[in-house]
Amino acid sequence: MRKIGQMKIQQMAFMIMAVFLFFILVGLFFIGIQFKDVRGTAAQLQKDQAISSLRVIADMPELNYDSSETMTVDEDKLVVMSSNFSGAYNVFWPVASVGVYKIYPAFDSVKKCPGLGCNFYDIYDSGQSNVKTYSTYVSICKRVREEGSAFDRCEVGKLVVGVKINE
């Protein structure tokens, strides 16, 4: 009779432990999922914030094509800013580097502008190491004349900005 009682107590103890472990596992699982979502949201917010900062740079009068349009850069201004003239702007840029790529047509190698078939305007590079780059799409526009008429020709471009990482 005593042995049966002991068995019963043992059975109950095992059951309580199993239930306890089960709920711990479920809880850990749930917390894991919750934190995964929080991490994802934080990364997305950080990315959006970085892109918003890039918007500020793209909309600066030094690069902007039309003040009524955002994320549109002037190709003629890019030519000027990427030439030797850019030295005068070294203390102006609040970042480590600024560059604009022409995305279309697709390219295999980077060719610095100005030049024939070029695809990269190197506007500013402080030469700093340990830089993290952020990029976003912009329109590269230019006023061109063809067959006696002037019109705006826009291409897809990518603004790449380097930010110094503090260790």
Partner: protein, 165 residues
């Protein structure tokens, strides 16, 4: 004997409750895991830059070239590219694919892209054109733009799957 039966029933109910709780957790998990497109500023900028891109198609005269936004309207109105002797829809299909392809080539993290051209009316949305490439893995981001063409509303929707967050 009666007490023992009651104990058995309580044990059974406990196990059923545990299994139901477990199943609910897995149900929530599986519902959360299905990739939902999240509106993203990055894809929005991508779509904006794409819509402003000037094409080689001039509907009326050269050099009044359409940008993609105007080309979507021209395609909907079944216009012709007068300088290329092609239909606006035919040219839109090939040029959109090549430009979007070039854009995605510059993005190492993108595993899949999809651009839909839809015509919206009172009944719903009718797909006119879809271009896509790759296999969707990772997080899904999307953006869309509405254009008015006459009395119709056109919707351009871009969906991008990225491996890295």
């Amino acid at each position: 004997m009666n007490k023992r039966g009651q104990q058995e029933i309580v044990g059974f109910v406990l196990i059923v409750v545990l299994v139901v709780v477990g199943l609910m957790v897995f149900l929530i998990m599986s519902l959360r895991d299905s990739p939902e497109a999240v509106e993203s500023l990055e894809v929005e900028n991508m779509l904006d830059a794409l819509m402003k891109h000037t094409t080689e198609c001039a509907i009326v005269y050269e050099p009044a070239y359409d940008d993609f936004e105007a080309l979507f309207k021209s395609c909907h109105q079944i216009d012709q590219c007068s300088n290329l002797e092609k239909s606006a829809c035919g040219y839109l299909n090939e040029s959109l694919l090549s430009v979007v392809d070039a854009m995605m080539e510059s993005e190492a993290a993108v595993s899949y892209y999809q651009v839909d051209f839809l015509v919206k009316d009172d009944i719903g949305e009718e797909g006119k054109l879809r271009i896509s490439g790759g296999n969707c893995t990772g997080s899904v981001s999307a953006a869309q733009r509405s254009i008015v063409s006459g009395s119709d509303s056109l919707v351009i929707r871009m969906k991008v799957c990225s491996v890295l967050a």
